[in-house]
Amino acid sequence: MTLDASRDHALELLRDMIRIRRLEEKSAELYSKEKIRGFLHLYIGEEAVGVGAMHALREDDNIVATYREHGQALVRGIPAGEIMAEMYGKANGCSGGRGGSMHLFSAERRFYGGHAIVGGGLPVAVGLALADKMKGESRVTACFFGDGATDEGEFHESLNLAALWKLPVLFLCENNEYAMGTALYRHVSDQDIANNPPAYGVHADSVNGMDVVAVERSVHNEAELVRETSEPRFLELKTYRFRAHSMYDAELYRSKEEVEEYKKSDPITNLEKRAMGDGLITQADIDAIEADAAKEIAEAVEFAEQGEWEPVESITRHTYARDLS
């Protein structure tokens, strides 16, 4: 199927997916080298969701994401260096080293984290939309969450409240078929997640999350409808993560064969094939993107390596507006 995109746009989408991929691979390596600590959740395989969605949304829209948010953060414009430095825990990280991999924040770019409690970001997204509505802003608050979050009460409460108060929230469910180690059919009673929102009067749709162009198109359409109607909408993006839930998860819950099968739908190789097939891009383009990405990531690592550690003396800063002691 031919791509419905221009060469420039195809290159843009491909570039961003490759950037994410290489950033995540480097993060894995650095985690093995103990430069990155704690939990690390990689986006490898899901790039089309983050890239497509972020390209579809406006710079001014609010983003609330999960702990698997490096992709969204990078495409939103948080510099790779700041993301890497944050994962290192350095003071020049985008959250000052205070958050780590799971808590990337950027006030400047309306990137409201980085949430590690499954479902915990949805009420916050509802609130951001409430503020915008009360202020008469035309922003959309896009809230990313996984299939696991649809189990939590907050998901249902948030759909209900957003629909009741007519709040401009775009609920984006990145369904990668696993809530950590529990397959979809084992954690939801109705495997068609998109059946939930209509129970609350919220429109729901699904899209192939491995096709970046399709994702972009769907998210754009949904976002504009939200913006126009100031009513919440829900989009399920069917995707798959090629790596474990987090680093050194033994993946006992799924077979290697399944993973290999899904790798055939790798969003990056698929876009490359289709774009090349359409004559939009060449191998040279891909090589150039790869080279640029390699450089960008190398510089990001350097930025992180050079970063300073926050002095312990300032540890009580940012607990309250003013240090109470």
């Binding site: 093995s32 600590r37 704690g38 033994a250």
Partner: protein, 421 residues
């Protein structure tokens, strides 16, 4: 996770590898995980055998890349429910306090300290002394060693603080709180010794002497042996020797007595010992304590160390120095505590004899009266001779009259031959 088992190698030395290839499988508590290589190159060597359990961070293989060979290390897992493990803590080092050597036989402690230890029923044996040369102080006896349970005072922190501020001994305050606890009001209403009037050194000394003498009187079964010694030869010899000496170098008879006592003790070790609670421990060294009266009424008995050594002139000089320092209050603590016997000479006071009380923990004391002309029988004739009465007081737990008498005889003989002293 701190260690993992290398379950399986997927490559062999010489195999080419590309970044992202899985080269090994490692067994962890969560299951088998695949180890990927981040370099492209050729496997040079495998450093860990299949089946081997190695700590996290152990290099597993060497990969030769184009420029620099890189190694692949054992991974660290971060189980979902646990946090990153901390490095093993350095085991605590226990530094044992050194115990100082007490270089005398038995614990070195002043009479006052010994009395207090006795009151508190604390043994000085093996106690670590914090004073000079390991001398045991009052603080050592009263302080660090936990008092017997019955000595523990129940008192509120506030009451203890005001008691300390006012110099009130909490052990003397009656508590009216729960369980007899002392409260602030109890301290405030306790009778206070007139504050502001410091206890003088002389008073303190008097109290110490009182304590020591009371104890000696209570505890030591004294026996006394008395002897009159003809000092004619000794005094004649002194006159002769002093004739050729300057005033400052002249010897006095007291130094002869001192040396004679020390010499006599050589063969009478039972009188040169310290009482250690249940037995006397003889001392190899002889340090005769010299009773010195102080202006203001005090009394000290500092020791002339190794009284039996050196020339008489040396001993004389040391004695003069000791007495002057005693009167100036400049004695060394070792001098205060190391005497193995005491000599108290009251000749200057003009009395004939003295029946002295032993200074614990010594086991003997020699008291001398004045040397005065007395009628003496020599070769059947009554002639005036300079006679000195010497009284030995000794601890009957350690020696007996027979031994005491022989000591005095020895002393007499030594004083008849002053050149040999």
């Amino acid at each position: 996770m701190t260690a993992g088992t290398l379950a399986k190698w997927r490559v062999s030395p010489g195999d080419p590898v590309s970044q992202g290839d899985i080269i090994a499988e490692v067994e962890t508590d969560k299951g088998l995980i695949e180890v990927e290589v981040f370099e492209t190159g050729v496997v040079e060597s495998l450093l860990v055998e299949e089946g081997a359990k190695v700590p996290v961070g152990t290099p597993l293989a060497e990969i030769a890349t184009v420029s620099v060979p890189a190694s692949v290390s054992a991974p660290e897992s971060a189980p979902e429910s646990a946090s990153v493990s901390a490095p093993a803590s350095v085991p605590g080092r226990i530094i044992s306090a050194g115990s100082s050597e007490v270089d005398l036989d038995g614990p070195m402690a002043s009479p006052a300290v010994r009395r207090r230890a006795h009151e508190l029923d604390v043994s000085l044996q093996g106690m670590h002394g914090t004073g000079d040369h390991g001398r045991i102080t009052l603080d050592d006896v009263e302080g660090p060693a936990p008092p017997a349970p019955s000595d523990r005072v129940r008192i509120s922190p506030y009451a203890r603080r005001i008691a300390s501020e006012r110099g009130i001994d909490v052990r003397r305050v009656h508590g009216t709180g729960a369980g007899g606890a002392i409260r602030a009001s109890d301290v405030l209403s306790a009778k206070v010794p007139a504050p502001g009037k410091p206890v003088s050194a002389a008073e303190r000394m008097q109290r110490a002497i009182a304590a020591a003498m009371t104890r000696a009187n209570d505890e030591i079964p004294h026996y006394y042996v008395e002897h009159a010694i003809d000092m004619g030869n000794a005094l004649a010899w002194l006159r002769e020797v002093n004739a050729s000496l300057s005033v400052s170098e002249r010897l006095v008879s007291g130094v002869l007595v001192l040396r004679a006592v020390a010499r006599a003790l050589h063969k009478h070790k039972k009188l040169n010992a310290t009482w250690q609670g249940a037995e006397a421990v003889p001392s190899e060294e002889i340090h005769v304590g010299l009773a010195v009266s102080l202006r203001g009424g005090g009394l000290v008995a500092p020791a002339l160390r190794n009284t039996n050594e050196g020339s008489l002139s040396d001993l004389m000089a040391r004695m003069i120095d000791l007495v002057s320092r005693a009167r100036a209050g400049a004695l060394r603590s070792s001098e205060m505590t190391c005497a193995t016997i005491t000599l108290t000479a009251l000749g200057e006071r003009g009395v004939d004899s003295v029946t002295p009380i032993i200074f614990p923990p010594q086991v003997a004391i020699v008291g001398c009266g004045a040397t005065a002309e007395r009628p003496w029988v020599v070769d059947g004739q009554v002639v005036p001779r300079p006679v000195m009465h010497v009284t030995l007081g000794a601890d009957h737990r350690v020696s007996n009259g027979h031994q005491g008498a022989r000591f005095l005889s020895a002393l007499d003989r030594l004083l008849q031959d002053p050149e040999k002293l």
